[in-house]
């Protein structure tokens, strides 16, 4: 029950925040941070039992028919991520309160932010595939509204929409993957799936499951080639960038891969796809980061680098790699969230984020500066900082691979060099040097603006000095869950003089070199080309894809929904003939043997009149003549009724035909003669369609007439017409008694038609039906525009 509360507390805050924020004023951020802080405190009580090897599960039936439970599962891995989310969330809430102080939609902002946090906590704790998916998508929705929070700006709207579509596409793939996973394992319960061992890997769906799940993970966690949405998402207010698009939401994809690691990994497919894409993303984005001068641009690409590194480590899958993955999650969250808060504080104070225009801020915001320096030292992997520990284990992991050790170590080295340079840029450029026109007017940040960064800096330093604190409480249970086997990891500050240490030294040396070569390198042709192709290039590709889709959609729609009634009718008739004809072809036609013997001369004459009347319509162009030709067919058909014993029907048909002809003539007399006569080709096409339609009806009729018919209905009506329905005319008794409900309906139709015509004639008489053509044209125009 407590776990459910922990998840839904955020949703509850989201519901009330818009209404109460007016009353909370300046204290809003601090006050609301009590919610994530409270959840963190509650979740912390699980640390000891989980470290002792326990897991907790609660489940409430939601849709029993689909086996969907609202169920939550606390093990090392989910607890690790949940604590990260609520812990960082606490600091972000405080920060956001200061950052958006006085914003007139602050309540709405906190509503979205706490909805996101709740969804994220729900995601990592969920124990049912579909519940998991629901929270997964809710984080996308929260991201959508938060990126677009400043929706007055077109770039914000575009970025929000793009992020939603990309992550939603991945989400749908993930859903498909989950559906297949259910088929493969027979359960939706994640904790049970983790127990199924080889079930998924041995299943025929394995490849499909891996590809679909990874599509979900790669889009969410911004891997190549989907990462382009993440730098755009920096349009969001900085607290959002720090929280969603760096520390937590983008880790949802990482969490997906980690959660299902025990049952999906261990194959070549997984190793190369996850490891390869991760490594490629890591190197590419680390160097792309150096192409930007916007603080948030650099932070965005280095975030992608971190996500690539995490993905790579999950792909490699050795115990050291997985340990490195977990440590790096923390390392990155601490320094990156701090740096985002720093960037936001600078933006807040100076209204500028371009590092080439900033400088000298150390005197204006000393605490922020201190936090930034510590975070950057951790980011660069300098000894005594937490980042050093992380980098050492990554090198250790890549060096000890059974295959492709050199490749992955090289990739890690390459990426880390760029990261050191980025760290240098972030720590030095805004703060060192003299104050300039811009920065000299900077105002001192509020406590809320530096508090979070300072706390995280302390963590980066403290855990760098005493990393073993994490060993048994945090790392061991989460690593065990990630591996699906018992693990006892140990983090140490000093491993002796070894290859990873040497690589660290090389990294820092090369990174410093890169830092000093930054300006000429950034402007060199190859680097600019890299940015043009894989930075903005992919983003433009997205636009092309959307435009192409819209062009296709428009072309298809203009072709189908073309505005011409005659084409619609022709399409429908053509479809009918094709479908019925195909079905006849499939089952075969069984009709009576046709014989032309014994047909009386008058029958021939009638038939010829019917056919002749119809044929004549093809060749006549005067309207009156057309009506007359149709009339010939109609009256001849009525005559056949008369001859074959249906005088009532014949009488009705005669009346209708007469009325039709008269009405047609009256209307047509008021219209001009046909101005546009259909071409021969047109008529031929219509003629073929008409003959085909007629043949279809004939074939259907013959096939049915070939069946024996038992006239039970007729016999019954004959038997009871007089005795029970009290009428000698059977047709009448059928109409008013046996099937009176039909007649009720039909007279209602007449009533409506009559009243409808009255309405048409009386209401707004000025608009007459001649304008129909014009209006059709306007429909055309509207579609094309």
């Amino acid at each position: 029950m407590g776990i459910v509360l922990a998840v839904f507390a955020g949703f509850a805050l989201a519901l009330v925040a818009p209404w109460i924020t007016g009353a909370t004023g300046r204290a809003t951020g601090w006050l609301y941070s009590l919610v994530p802080a409270g959840i963190t405190a509650y979740l912390s009580t699980f640390i000891a039992p989980v470290a002792a090897g326990e897991t907790m599960r609660v489940a409430y039936a939601w849709v029993p028919g689909l086996n969907v439970d609202l169920s939550f599962y606390v093990d090392g891995l989910s607890l690790f991520f949940a604590l990260l989310i609520t812990g960082i969330g606490t600091l972000i809430f405080i920060y956001a309160g200061a950052y958006l102080k006085g914003h007139h939609h602050l309540g709405r902002f906190f509503a979205y932010l706490s909805m996101f946090m709740a969804a994220m906590v729900g995601l990592v704790l969920a124990d049912n595939l579909f519940t998991f998916y629901i929270f997964f998508e809710l984080t996308s929705f929260a991201s959508f509204v938060l990126i677009g929070f400043n929706h007055d700006e077109a770039a914000s709207r575009r970025a929000a929409w793009q992020a939603l579509l990309i992550t939603k596409a991945g989400g749908l793939a993930l859903l498909a993957g989950f559906l297949l996973m259910e088929q493969a394992t027979g359960t939706l319960q994640i904790s049970a799936i983790l127990e199924t061992g080889e079930a998924i890997r041995d299943h025929g769906f394995y490849t499909a499951i891996v590809l679909l799940v990874l599509a979900g993970a790669f889009t969410k966690s911004a891997q190549f080639p989907f990462y382009f949405w993440l730098p755009n998402a920096m349009q969001a207010p900085t607290p959002v960038s720090a929280y969603l698009h760096s520390a937590t939401m983008v880790k949802a994809g990482i969490y997906v891969m980690a959660r299902f690691h025990p049952v999906l990994s261990g194959t070549d497919l997984w190793f190369w796809l996850v490891g390869g894409i991760g490594a490629f993303t890591m190197v590419l984005s680390a160097w792309l980061a150096l192409q930007y001068t916007d603080l948030k641009g650099i932070l965005a690409y280095t975030t992608i680098m971190a996500l690539g590194a995490l993905t790579m480590l999950l792909g490699l899958g050795t115990e050291t790699a997985l340990k490195a993955c977990l440590v790096f999650v923390l390392v990155h969250a601490f320094y990156k969230a701090a740096l985002f808060m720093v960037a936001g504080a600078i933006d807040h104070g100076v209204h500028e984020r371009d590092i080439t225009k900033l400088g000298g801020l150390r005197s204006k915001m000393p605490i922020t500066f201190g936090a930034a320096v510590i975070a950057c030292l951790s980011m660069a992997g300098i000894p005594l900082f937490f980042g050093f520990i992380g980098k050492e284990i990554i090198y250790e992991a890549t060096l000890h691979l059974d295959q492709a050790a050199l490749f992955f170590t090289g990739a890690a080295l390459l990426a880390n060099v760029a990261l050191v340079a980025s760290a240098g840029l972030l720590a030095i450029r805004p703060f060192m040097g003299p104050l300039n026109d811009l920065t000299s007017h900077a105002h001192r940040p509020d406590t809320g603006l530096w508090f979070g960064a300072a706390v995280l800096a302390v963590l980066s330093l403290g855990l760098g000095l005493a990393p073993w604190l994490l060993d048994s409480a945090i790392l061991a249970p989460s690593l065990s869950a990630l591996m699906g086997a018992e693990a006892t990891p140990h983090l140490a500050i000093w491993h002796g003089f070894n290859l990873p240490l040497a690589l660290s030294g090389v990294t820092v040396a090369l990174g410093v070199g890169t830092y000093f070569a930054w300006t000429p390198m950034r402007q060199s042709a190859p680097f600019r080309a890299l940015e043009r192709w894989l930075g903005t290039g992919l983003d433009n590709g997205y636009d092309h894809a959307i435009n192409g889709l819209l062009a296709t959609a428009t072309a298809q729609t203009n072709f189908l929904q073309n505005g011409y009634l005659r084409r619609y009718i022709a399409t429908i008739l053509g479809t009918t003939v094709a479908v019925v004809g195909y079905t006849f072809g499939h089952f075969g036609f069984e009709g009576p043997v046709l014989s032309f013997v014994g047909i009386a001369p008058y029958e021939w004459i009638l038939s010829l009149l019917i056919v002749g009347g119809a044929l004549a319509t093809l060749f006549l162009s005067a309207r009156i003549a057309l009506v007359a030709a149709l009339g010939i067919s109609g009256f001849s058909i009525a005559l056949t009724y008369l001859m074959y014993g249906a005088p009532d029907l014949a009488m009705t048909q005669f009346l209708i035909e007469t009325l039709t002809v008269i009405l047609f003539v009256l209307i047509l007399a008021a219209l001009p003669t046909l101005s546009e006569v259909a071409s021969i080709g047109h008529r031929l096409r219509d003629g073929v369609l008409a003959v085909a339609t007629g043949s279809m009806f004939t074939a259907l009729m013959l096939a049915v007439l070939n069946q024996p018919f038992e006239n039970r209905m007729g016999e019954y009506y004959m038997q009871y017409s007089y005795s029970e329905a009290q009428g000698r005319n059977i047709v009448n008794t059928i109409l008013v008694d046996f099937r009176a409900l039909d007649t009720l309906g039909e007279i209602t139709v007449l009533l409506i038609a009559g009243f409808g015509i009255y309405t048409l004639l009386r209401l707004k008489r000025s608009k007459t039906s001649e304008k129909v053509e014009a209006s059709r044209a306007s429909e055309q125009v509207e579609q094309l525009s």
């Binding site: 939601w62 849709v63 029993p64 028919g65 579909f130 959508f144 677009g148 929706h151 007055d152 077109a154 939603l164 596409a169 749908l172 559906l179 819209l550 959609a553 729609t557 189908l560 929904q561 009634l565 399409t571 008739l573 479809t575 009918t576 019925v580 079905t583 499939h586 089952f587 259907l700 009729m701 096939a703 049915v704 069946q707 038992e710 039970r712 209905m713 019954y716 038997q719 005795s723 029970e724 008694d737 046996f738 099937r739 009176a740 409900l741 039909d742 309906g745 209602t748 139709v749 409506i752 009243f755 409808g756 309405t759 048409l760 209401l763 608009k767 129909v772 209006s775 429909e779 509207e782």
Partner: protein, 528 residues
């Protein structure tokens, strides 16, 4: 209450209301009141009927006292009653919405009577157990909906109405032909008896061939590919109340008829009718509809094309034809009617506040009307299948059913179409609810006055909020809704209960001819 009464009240109430409303032609308020009472009455009766079915199973009523198959029976099974309830909900919502939305002139010229007569046709279609009688109710629907489209006589309305009525008359023609062919083959029009007799036709291919006439006819009604032209041509022309009523209900009557005949009557060759024909049609309908929507720039035109696309999902459930798939189809219908009608209602308020239905002219509704924005997001995201809203559950059931049946292709299509649906819905959001872009057209649009909130507009919020609330309820209580759909699907999968309820106990199952033979042998006159 008496079962027979419950079965005929959904017909009697709207018919009586139509006549009464005609009598009060010049008193709009009384008409609105009569309409509201009639729609609420139908809702109450339908709920009563559901309670009765829950207790006693399928209900049937022999009109005029003539026994099936010789007279016309009304039958209420779960599917019928679910359709009745959901339709009545829309009826009530539209009845409230219409009060501010329908202008005095339209009321004077019979909006309320026609709305009730349309309801009569819809309810008749859901309740009848007779194939020809179904045709009659279709005609009632067609003519009354035609008048409702045309009511107002604007150019757009006339252009749309002509296409609407002509194409639907083609549908009627095929339906009538199909009914004639069925009668010629089986000698009966009673659907329960047809369910037995059609299976005994020696040339079973013939029955399947005839079923294609129904596929086409109901396909036109349900707006399937490539027969849907009438829908996008007409739905955006009448007032929002009318479009909402149509959008919620008309095509769904077609889908209902399709489900009815392709579960009860035409199951001779599932591999052909369902797994081949319906499956292809479902997939193509989803895709063409959603692409059509992507190309539109008018609030209601986007929504109209999405109806087409969504119909594909319902037919997908029918095409897969496993119990789970049928649950999916029924769930989808329930979800869809509420959501789709609501989106049209929202479009009407957007038009009223923003001055247009065009997405190029509407903008910034979110800033001024956050309430409306939320009330739009709920149905819009539900339509797109965003979890945990109702549309998600509906699509999930269908996708799962498809995968279990090995129909991976259609599942892939269904999921991909979900993404494009998301695209269209967020397109409306971005264009109409967020501030305008630097579109050159935008400048002139500032001229279109932002209209103030009036009492009438506030009243229009009420049904929108209620329907959004129902969507939330369906989302949260997806379990019970699933159970209800499951009960319906069970009846559809095994029609013996339906047949027994209509034809009676002993004589039915084995030989449908027995009863008549008994009558003959006894020689006497049997009181029916």
């Amino acid at each position: 209450m008496d079962a027979d009464l419950l079965l005929i009240l959904p017909l009697v109430l709207p018919l009586a209301a139509a006549v009464l409303a005609l009598l009060f032609r010049n008193v709009p308020r009384v008409q609105a009141g009569i309409n509201l009472i009639s729609m609420s009455g139908v809702l109450a009766v339908s709920l009563g009927l559901l309670a009765m079915i829950n207790e006693q199973g399928i209900q049937s009523f022999a009109s005029g006292g003539w026994p099936a198959p010789f007279g016309i029976v009304l039958v209420a099974d779960y599917l019928s009653v679910i359709m009745l309830i959901v339709s009545a909900i829309i009826g009530v919502a539209v009845a409230v919405y219409a009060i501010p939305n329908i202008d005095a002139e339209r009321v004077h010229f019979g909006f309320y009577p026609f709305m009730n007569l349309l309801m009569l046709g819809i309810n008749g279609s859901f309740l009848t157990g007779d194939l020809f009688n179904l045709y009659v109710w279709f005609e009632v629907m067609l003519i009354s909906s035609f008048v409702l489209i045309v009511l107002g006589n604007t150019e757009d309305q006339l252009a749309g109405a002509v296409k609407y009525v002509m194409i639907n008359l083609v549908s009627s023609l095929f339906f009538l032909t199909g009914a004639g062919l069925v009668y010629g083959t089986a000698g009966t029009l009673n659907m329960a008896e047809l369910a037995l007799v059609l299976n005994e036709v020696e040339s079973s291919g013939l029955v399947t061939i005839i079923s294609m006439m129904f596929l086409i006819s109901f396909g036109i009604k349900a707006a399937l590919f490539p027969l849907f032209f009438w829908l996008p041509a007409s739905y955006h022309t009448p007032p929002a109340a009318v479009s909402a009523f149509f959008a919620g209900l008309l095509t769904k009557v077609g889908v209902y008829a399709m489900i009815r005949v392709f579960t009860l009557l035409f199951t001779q060759d599932i591999g052909y009718t369902h797994t081949t024909m319906l499956m292809w049609v479902a997939g193509l309908t989803m895709v063409t509809g959603v692409l059509g929507a992507a190309a539109q720039n008018d609030f209601r035109r986007v929504l109209s094309f999405h109806i087409v696309s969504q119909i594909g999902y319902m037919i997908m459930g029918l095409a897969i034809y496993t119990p789970l798939a049928l649950i999916g189809a029924v769930f989808y219908i329930i979800h869809h009617i509420i959501v789709k009608a609501n989106l049209f209602l929202v479009s009407g308020v957007a038009q009223r506040l923003g001055g247009s239905f065009s997405l190029k002219k509407l903008k910034g509704l979110y800033a001024h009307h956050p309430g409306l924005a939320i009330l739009f997001l709920i149905p819009a995201f539900s339509l797109a299948g965003f979890p945990p809203l109702s549309g998600f559950w509906a699509k999930l059931v269908l996708a799962k059913a498809g995968i279990e049946a090995g129909a991976y292709g259609i599942v892939a299509v269904a999921i991909a179409v979900g993404l494009f649906t998301m695209f269209s819905m967020t397109k409306i959001w971005v264009k109409a609810f967020l501030p305008g872009s630097s579109d050159p057209d935008a400048a002139e649009n500032d001229a279109t006055e932002r209209r103030p909130m009036t009492m009438g507009t506030r009243l229009m919020y009420v049904p929108i909020a209620a329907l959004a609330g129902i969507t939330i309820m369906i989302s949260v209580f997806a379990g019970p809704v699933f159970d209800l759909a499951e009960r319906s699907a069970n009846e559809l999968s095994d029609s013996s209960a339906y047949i027994e309820a209509v034809l009676g106990h002993e004589e039915s199952a084995a030989d449908p001819y027995t009863r008549l033979d008994l009558d003959r042998r006894s020689g006497g006159v049997h009181a029916p």
